[in-house]
Subunit: 322 residues, 2 copies
């Protein structure tokens, strides 16, 4: 069975036990804590050969990324990450130096956002390296942003450029050192921890998720969970000069990685139309750059892609994990 | 570097970020929640070829065990497990039927203790099957039992027979169907969730842990973290008739698996001497069996093993994980 079939089977199998909160299908589970607060929890596993190759990914970036993807999930709920846990299955043959660098990468990101490692587990591995990180977040129950909260009329925004990480992956795999800023977007993604917590405190923000599989897939999930449709204007997608330069050399359309590329880890959120201008200017005053409106939520279902206002007859597919 | 060296390096590397709670070195991390309550978190990874072999472990028991070891960790803190999260790396070649049985085992234990699966992650694996479960517990801050809380004079108790699981592992590996109750102790361990929560509510109980690596190792950890020593009377260890029978056939001493065997997952706890008799009778009234006093905490360090009151000159070593 494939990934989706396994997930659906797990959901069906285990639905008999009543949940103590909600969040199945969201970036994190949300559990009530005392005093009107919530605890959110997410867990992500990185497997050698699937998420990274030891031949191309430096140890430092594997440690960094293992934590980064989890902090991004917590941020996308609108709350602050407060602790992480790391379980690791370690094969024979990796050097002490490798593990030191791995931990250096994990530590650098822990320190950057003040998120302590509170525990974990280690085991031998008979095969590849596997790292599983769990992150815990805390915040006000009223700040939690769910994928399911988009409303028709909302403006859809992203908090940064799209597609850089996908191009960086191609560059890393080809061993190229061109466009170091694209490589960095892939290897040293910075989860938008501060932006996520700040957006959590804004009542104009309705739905939010992080962009892990490309907006084609992540926006589709917001739509299906909110029971809405969406319209996206492709000419408004924030695309970096580096990605434009790289795609021009490769003679490809930068819109494709911007819509379908994996692991951007920017935030994708919907904002009440009446409060959108204020939100953009307040965000820019706080973070020094503005989130970009790329479309709007509409009644109906599915995502309609427009170019200069005209519907394009193209089916974009988000990043497919194996 | 070996497991201990990696853990020590991780602790040193990551100590710069102040923790949001405590529990490093305990069965779970303990984080303050609102209203005088705590959230506890534990994560455990099972790797194919290390913790189980697909050739000998039925899928049902792999799913059961992946959750069981985590629920045992939460129980040993004196609080109630409230949620679990499962991350799984899935290799090619396992049948749909295998995953169904795996989830059936996970579900059976989830239902038994009413602990919902609240989320997780799935990925492909280029090599073996790896399962990482995170469990969350909640309880009163005053109920939390730490390994570090033993006091000289405390009575040391265990909540069940010791060594059965280690013998069951030997039987499973040899393909024997003798002593099914020992096999069951290994394959279908029942974490002492109710006992743990109940003991958490008793102020006479000082330190507690679950017995995952044999009391030689687990009691040594209580001693080193509490800055105490311990004396254990080997003739008082609770040893099942099955284990006696099996060891008699094998011409081995049942004390060895009882002291050094892994994965018993009973509770090991220390009790204020003045309240010990009351605790034993209240426990028996509640659960239908009595915990067994096996020794006492003393000033000093290390564990002294006695046989009929006389010190035995034997060094027991707990179960060594790879």
């Amino acid at each position: 069975m494939n990934e989706l079939e396994f997930i659906n089977l797990a959901k069906r199998s285990l639905s008999a036990v009543s949940p103590c909160g909600d969040g199945i299908g969201d970036d994190c589970a949300v559990m009530p804590a005392g005093d009107g607060r919530v605890t959110v929890v997410t867990t992500d596993m990185l497997a050698e050969g699937v998420h990274f190759r030891l031949s191309t990914a430096p140890a430092y970036t594997v440690g960094w990324k293992a934590l980064a993807v989890n902090l991004s999930d917590v941020a996308s709920m609108g709350v602050r990450p407060v602790a992480s846990f790391m379980a690791i299955a370690r094969p024979d043959g990796l050097s002490d130096r490798w593990y030191e660098e791995f931990l250096n990468g994990y530590r650098a990101l822990s320190e950057r956002f003040g998120v302590p490692l509170m525990g974990g587990d280690t085991t031998a591995s008979e095969s590849g390296l596997t790292v599983c990180v769990t992150a815990i977040g805390e915040g006000e129950v009223s700040h939690v942003k769910r994928r399911s909260a988009a409303l028709p009329g909302d403006i859809i925004m992203t908090s940064g450029t799209l597609g850089d990480s996908a191009a960086g992956l191609s560059l890393a795999e080809s061993g190229s050192a061109r466009y170091p800023e694209l490589l960095r977007a892939h290897l040293s993604l910075v989860p938008q921890v501060s932006e996520g917590e700040w957006l959590g405190g804004r009542c104009q923000v309705h739905a939010m998720t992080d962009i892990s599989d490309g907006i084609a897939k992540d926006l589709e999930q917001i739509c299906s969970m909110s029971d809405t449709g969406a319209r996206v204007e492709l000419t408004r997608l924030p695309i970096s000069d580096s990605l434009r330069g790289y795609c021009s050399e490769e003679e490809t359309d930068p819109v494709v990685p911007a819509v379908c590329g994996g692991e951007d880890f920017k935030l994708l959120f919907t904002v009440d139309e009446a409060g959108a201008d204020t939100l953009v200017s307040d965000f820019e005053a706080r973070f020094g750059y503005a989130p970009r409106p790329i479309g709007c939520i509409v009644a109906g279902s599915g995502v309609e892609w427009l170019r200069d206002g005209a519907s394009v007859n193209e089916k974009f597919q988000g990043y497919i994990h194996r």
